[in-house]
Symmetry: C2
């Protein structure tokens, strides 16, 4: 157990070549004769040689590790997105390093600190409810791409955003077309995308000459249940509810059912994200689908550009969303 790994020197010696040439050969550097390269490769394989990433990182003063900071691990949508990013990162030659334990306060800072110590190549932030200042700080200390809406006031951070406004509009027009007017909205927490959606809801309602009726909670099922209780405490309950995300919508569906209200007969519900569960026939949730693949692709490419310092002026990428109509929405009873 004294020397479990063979080194470049071992390989060089065994191949009868110099370390320099061995290094070049193994890395695919052009300046090596094909037969030499092949020979070295064979010897390396034989010795079970594995490059020591730490040594490589030390000499090049940066590693290929890229952190993925998941905003909410309990949200299947974040997991799906993270998976796509993981894959895209791998394809681009990075070492993805996902962090799940972002629940504790200040852990994002801790996580970034760890990435900094690792001399990570960059970090991808998934819809974290971080303050704009915190995101700025991170972006300043290492290449960073943020997925999710971001207040326009922060142009120095590269953000991949989904078109929240258009999504909300699609959903609302769907409900209007169905004949709804008493449309309530349950919003999310501190994430900028939650704010955007709530804002868009208010806009659309006002445009239609209707009074916005909304509450803000957090992006989880519990908040959805709670929201229903509050919404239905009024004497003029809504006939449709637009949720800021699917988890919230699932909570709404759950409570509605618990109260003996039928969906969509008594109340229509629309979500946002299209998480896997949403398609279940128990829920069959009408929702707004995001293209996670595309988001991941764009995010990784944007990160690469920041790292290469070839970042274009386009520091904001907006991707479309698409309405998926299922059983949870229908015409109002009256």
């Amino acid at each position: 157990m004294t020397k479990p790994f063979s080194t470049l020197i071992d390989v060089a010696r065994a191949a009868g070549k110099s370390v320099a040439q061995t290094s070049r050969a193994l890395r695919g550097d052009p300046g090596v004769r094909p037969e030499t390269r092949e020979h070295i490769a064979k010897v390396a394989a034989q010795l079970g040689y594995r490059p020591n990433l730490a040594a490589r990182s030390l000499v090049s003063s940066q590693s290929s590790i890229v952190g993925i900071l998941i905003g909410d691990p309990n949200n299947p949508f974040h997991i799906e997105l993270a998976q796509c990013i993981d894959r895209a990162l791998l394809a681009a030659g990075f070492e993805p390093m996902t962090t799940l334990s972002l629940s504790e306060p200040g852990s994002a800072t801790n996580e970034v600190e760890r990435l900094l110590r690792l001399r990570a190549a960059g970090v991808i932030l998934l819809a974290n409810s971080l303050t704009a200042k915190a995101i700025d700080d991170i972006a300043q200390s290492l290449p960073c791409v943020y997925l999710g809406s971001l207040r326009v006031s922060h142009p120095q951070v590269t953000a991949i955003t989904v078109d929240d406004k258009s999504g909300v509009r699609q959903a609302m027009e769907h409900l209007f077309a169905l004949g709804h007017t008493r449309i309530a909205h349950l919003g999310g927490g501190a994430e900028a995308s939650a704010r955007e959606r709530t804002k868009a809801y208010c806009e659309v309602m006002k445009e239609a000459g209707l009074e916005p009726n909304y509450l803000r909670g957090t992006h989880d099922a519990a908040s959805g249940r709670c929201g229903v209780d509050m919404l239905f405490a009024s004497e003029q309950p809504p006939t449709a509810i637009l949720a800021s995300n699917d988890l919230l919508a699932l909570g709404i569906l759950d409570r509605l059912r618990g109260m003996g209200l039928a969906v969509p007969e008594d109340v229509s519900v629309v979500g946002f994200d299209d998480i896997p569960h949403a398609g279940n026939s128990v829920f069959s949730l009408t929702t707004l689908r995001q293209d996670t693949q595309a988001q991941a692709q764009v995010a990784v490419q944007a990160l690469q550009e920041i790292i290469d310092d070839t970042a274009k002026r386009t520091r904001r990428h907006v991707l479309p969303v698409e309405l998926v109509t299922r059983q949870s929405s229908g015409p109002p009873k009256t």
Copy 2:
């Protein structure tokens, strides 16, 4: 941007001390005068010094990175478990590195290869459906702890197992007590824990003088739906179904509802894991709760022991499960 990070030498120079002493001070090594330590710490903080983990790893020839290989990222239970492990690892001074993209074939091997290049301290495998041989190979190349059942024939791998047998027995006794005799079972895929549960089901049925009636699929909702179709194609459908995990159970519930069957009036359903969704009133699933915290704790401690080479003979840890009774189980109709 030529030198974004200050080094130990910078700190030493600024503090008027030697690198050795600076290193010791910053690491909390005993041989440093308190005031010296403080002074160095202050200077380091001032300079925004961050130890280069790569350099540290290089000289000590191993890093503190520990990989977490999630078996199925789409299973909330795995995510929850991974989160607990992440936290436990962090608390033990390791750098957790979770991998989500384990869906592709052979990716576990790739992932391990990456960890090896990183000279990772170890790896924790979450209920992967890896072959016994693959797990053995991994365990041989770096410290490894497996969470989930493992065939007894592989004593060289340290495994943290939940008491599947006792869990199944609890569930079955609950159903027996309710009056069920036509109890079917939907099993999981290649993971050893799935096999264990199916095996236990058969045992208990036979003990009760009943004929086992089961199908095996995979640990996901789709498989559950499909299983229901097959189970109810017979002229003597079951009055209760024991699912190998909650995802499967959720799929069962979903299809049952789609077929117009009431739960638990027409059919009782019991799951395994107690994922967050299981408690929703839409599902209200009777299931077997696992103590993820405890599992994580034990896993990290076991890993530590392997690394320190103080591993005891106890290479197998079995943790209890507890039946949580909810609305999805009740007496049969007849």
